[in-house]
Symmetry: C2
Subunit: 233 residues, 2 copies
């Protein structure tokens, strides 16, 4: 699901990456490649590759005669899916979920507006299908089924926008929605109002009503913000 997995290199990364993003090493901390290689019982070659990847994510900086310096959070490539997963798996998951939900609230309405103008008939059909799936799982504690269709729905919207930057946020939205179902306070069935909004949104896109699609999505994301107690203007 989350892991780079394959290879010795990936396993080291899956340990060291989360440690760094969790803040185990305060910014400015210096790690030595040799020591790390010893700690993980791998060769220096493998360790160097790991450091290179962490460096490309701007989590660390490698300098001669100094070592591998941990960079402050503001330098990190916070849009890297791997970094997002690591942080969501760590201690500041709530904080991370807030940031991402605010991001959603900015992106999705615009994406929905574009989707209303660019969606193919197939995508419109998918959308209605997802909305129906949400309705079908809206009651009776079928949270997993609801989540599945919810994620699919938002993925289609983002993809149908025709903007690759939006489309790439599908995984992020999936993580946020999944996090809400699995970790946050969502014991009860989903809000019926939200379900209705999704059905209406599918309609609006099908009818190429960009303005309505945008407005409906704004209502959906505002609901998400309220769930996390993020004050809306």
């Amino acid at each position: 699901m989350s892991t780079t997995g394959r290879g010795l290199h990936g396993r080291v990364l899956d340990t060291l990456g989360p440690e760094i993003t969790a803040g185990d090493y305060p910014p400015g901390s210096v790690l030595r490649t040799d020591e790390l290689a010893q700690r993980f019982d791998v060769s220096r070659s493998v360790m160097r590759e790991v450091v290179r990847v962490l460096e490309s994510m701007h989590l660390v900086q490698s300098r001669r005669r100094v070592g591998v310096t941990v960079l402050p959070t503001c330098e990190w490539n916070v849009y890297d899916p791997q970094v997002i997963r690591w942080r969501l798996a760590g201690a500041d998951r709530p904080r991370q979920l807030r940031s991402l939900t605010v991001l959603r609230s900015a992106i999705e309405p615009v994406a929905a507006g574009l989707a209303a103008r660019h969606a193919t008939p197939e995508q419109c059909a998918e959308l209605t299908e997802c909305a129906l799936g949400m309705v079908a799982n809206a009651s009776g504690h079928r949270l997993e089924g609801y989540l599945f269709h919810d994620v699919a729905f938002h993925r289609v919207i983002l993809t149908a926008s025709g903007n690759e930057m939006f489309a790439r946020l599908g995984d992020v939205v999936a993580e946020v929605l999944s996090g809400r179902t699995h970790h946050a306070v969502m014991f009860e069935d989903p809000d019926p109002a939200a379900v209705t909004l999704h059905v209406q949104l599918a309609e609006a896109v099908r009818e190429r009503d960009a303005a309505r699609a945008e407005k409906l999505t704004r209502e959906i994301t505002e609901g998400a913000l309220q769930e996390l107690d993020i004050l809306a203007p």
Copy 2:
């Protein structure tokens, strides 16, 4: 400015990365580490580190017995600043600028709204200073000076939003604005209306008027969309 620079490893990356993002190798193409090492006249160790980094950007996938496979565009980490720079330097720069400008139009209004509620007095002061700088350079073909303050202005807005995801887009916005000045059709002095909007936006933030800040920013980004002939709803 753009380069990873330091080290042999970085120089190879700065050649191979742009080649891939430019589409020189169609998706599914297979590269061999040994051949690449020969081509760039570096050791396999260095070449492997390069491949690992490209893999972490999801530009390629390395598999045993197969080689290094180039992935389709939809897999790329398009938010990676390095990838963005490579693509902006390549042939599909116009397309890329459009995607990013649409992204701006989604993010910045929301960021401005948040900035109006969270900006520190220092940030408010910076904002007015930047706006004044824009006014001062608005006429007389002082495009560079104007750009400088424009970039600084938007950076402050994004940072002041208090959302790290937004703050991290400062570099992207800088690239877009800089691209407009240097490559696009901007021979003449900037639009006076845009200058006024920035001044008013600085005001709105200072006066904590979130709704007005958001609306003004929406007008600013709509202007940016129109410049690129992206139809607004």
